[in-house]
């Protein structure tokens, strides 16, 4: 797109879906112009509610996200959905799948869906997701839903960027409560038991309550007890209740100042991630090409060079002096 950045930003802000799609692609691919674009979009961001959805594969997160989007549309709010799959080897968005999902919304232009997958080792998928969410936010989307597949550390890092985190569980999957790992318990603001018509929903709910009763680490001064909402997303059941629980939590975020504190903490983490990523890119470009890294690795594997000296040599090469301790 040879359009000047200012023009591009204007188009994105005016709701031009093509301009938005190209912006997201540029950000995902770290295109040279993406930095300037993000810098100019930033002042327009910070208005959207960012909602993270996570849970085991097969828990029906996509259907739930679609239903929630529809609910927000009823309330007159525009929605962006970012679907992230850290285990997928495909980059650049599963465009076809996104189109099919958008079709289900009868091409409602108030709902925009975009898939993301692994961004190379240097990039960081959480950072890319945060940037894409910011682009949607700056484009005027009032709600940004980030859905992730799986419940590992990647997913935790991704949904942590949200203002509100929903953890989706399903009756009878694995050992139920055992599958709610420690990290997940801490990040859940709201639990959703989806496919709640299935056997074991009550048992799962009891399990969650027991876990909640044993105390959550890092409780705030005015603690929030995560509600447990039962849904059957495929039939639209429980979605209005879930939207209400989200609204309640948003009030809590505002009243207690927790929302502001979270955003500061999120920016702190993103800042570190941006620095890390930026440093590694410069390193790769300026003093450690792929070829040089491979050659050095071969020397180390053969025992001819120790990796600790190698690291110091490379750092010295970009003007960073030796470790003092």
């Amino acid at each position: 797109m040879s359009m000047p950045i200012e023009e591009w930003v204007k188009e994105i802000r005016a709701g031009n879906a093509r301009a938005l799609a190209r912006a997201i692609t540029a950000v995902e691919n770290r295109a040279p112009e993406s930095r300037q674009l993000l810098r100019q979009l930033f002042p327009h961001s910070g208005r959207a509610s960012i909602i993270g959805l996570t849970g085991a594969p097969g828990s029906g997160k996509s259907t739930l996200a679609d239903q929630l989007a529809r609910e927000f549309r009823k309330l007159g709010r525009s929605v962006g959905i970012v679907a992230v799959d850290p285990t997928s080897p495909f980059s650049g968005g599963a465009i076809l799948g996104d189109r099919i999902r958008m079709q289900r919304h009868h091409a409602d232009r108030g709902i925009y869906i975009r898939s993301m997958a692994t961004r190379g080792a240097l990039g960081g998928l959480a950072a890319a997701t945060a940037e894409v969410a910011m682009v949607l936010d700056a484009s005027g989307r009032e709600v940004v839903l980030i859905e992730t597949v799986g419940v590992g550390q990647d997913e935790i890092d991704i949904v942590r960027l949200a203002d509100i985190t929903l953890v989706v569980l399903v009756p009878g999957m694995g050992d139920d409560v055992q599958s709610i790992k420690a990290g997940i318990m801490e990040i859940a603001d709201i639990f959703v038991i989806n496919k709640s018509e299935r056997d074991g929903a009550a048992q799962l709910e009891r399990g969650i309550r027991t876990l909640l009763a044993t105390g959550r680490p890092g409780a705030d001064e005015k603690p929030w007890m995560p509600p447990i909402i039962k849904t059957v997303a495929s039939e639209g059941k429980g979605i209005a209740e879930l939207a209400q629980a989200i609204a309640d939590f948003q009030q809590h975020l505002q009243k207690t100042g927790l929302g502001a504190r979270r955003r500061v903490e999120n920016w702190r983490r993103r800042l570190l991630e941006m620095l890390r990523s930026e440093l590694m890119h410069r390193l790769a470009r300026e003093s450690l090409s792929d070829e040089a890294a491979r050659r050095l690795a071969a020397e180390i594997a053969a025992g001819r060079k120790d990796p600790y000296s190698a690291v110091e040599d490379i750092l010295a090469g970009i003007g960073i002096k030796n470790r003092t301790i």
Copy 2:
């Protein structure tokens, strides 16, 4: 430990379990002396077979690792086990659990077990695991088993450091073959169906075979078809067969040169990870204290400063000039 590093290395190499335990603790905690220690241990490393075990929680990986260790002991080889749980919030090793596990080996000094958990955001658990494995290797352990809980990207990063990767599955867990995600299929050198006396073992085996038949990406010039070994680890069944499959694969690694190529690739990844981690540490120490990062994040969250300019200011502060593109 006020012992000079040379002395410490000597004690570790002589089989002093206390010296070894303290070395691992120092490495886990990034103690100031750990760098020097690792540098001096490095020339003694590279001899052990590093075996990674991964699989869903509840698949019996610990029992399997213990049984494998016993099998290797019968063959006269000393063993170190590193048990890693990326989702656990506890750092510093679950000493009590390790002791209990070691007791089961009748305090056989030929088996050493050590748990690891999350190391802060700056550190990287995969890097720490690699370092601990290297310490065990340098201490003279002939086999190092790395077992991880879960099947996310963290776990993949960890077991990738191994020469040989075992993926442990259990009949009837989740949707069986569906739970074998793309990333896991690629890293498995050997599949283990543990608890194979259960219903669904044959079905699971068929599922794996079907997946294998559809082709694995990144096949070598002389492709290895991962065998599927059925075990009942709690009763010691199938363990000898598994040890044989491991020996077969080791031969394959050597004959085809794949082993050497893997080690080079592993070192390349570790080198990048070490650089990343080192850069972030220096940054944190020299120009971006926790306090400064938090203050900056608050400015950004309030929309008073854009994060992209902030990053460039910080990089300029450690003497790295502006991005050229």
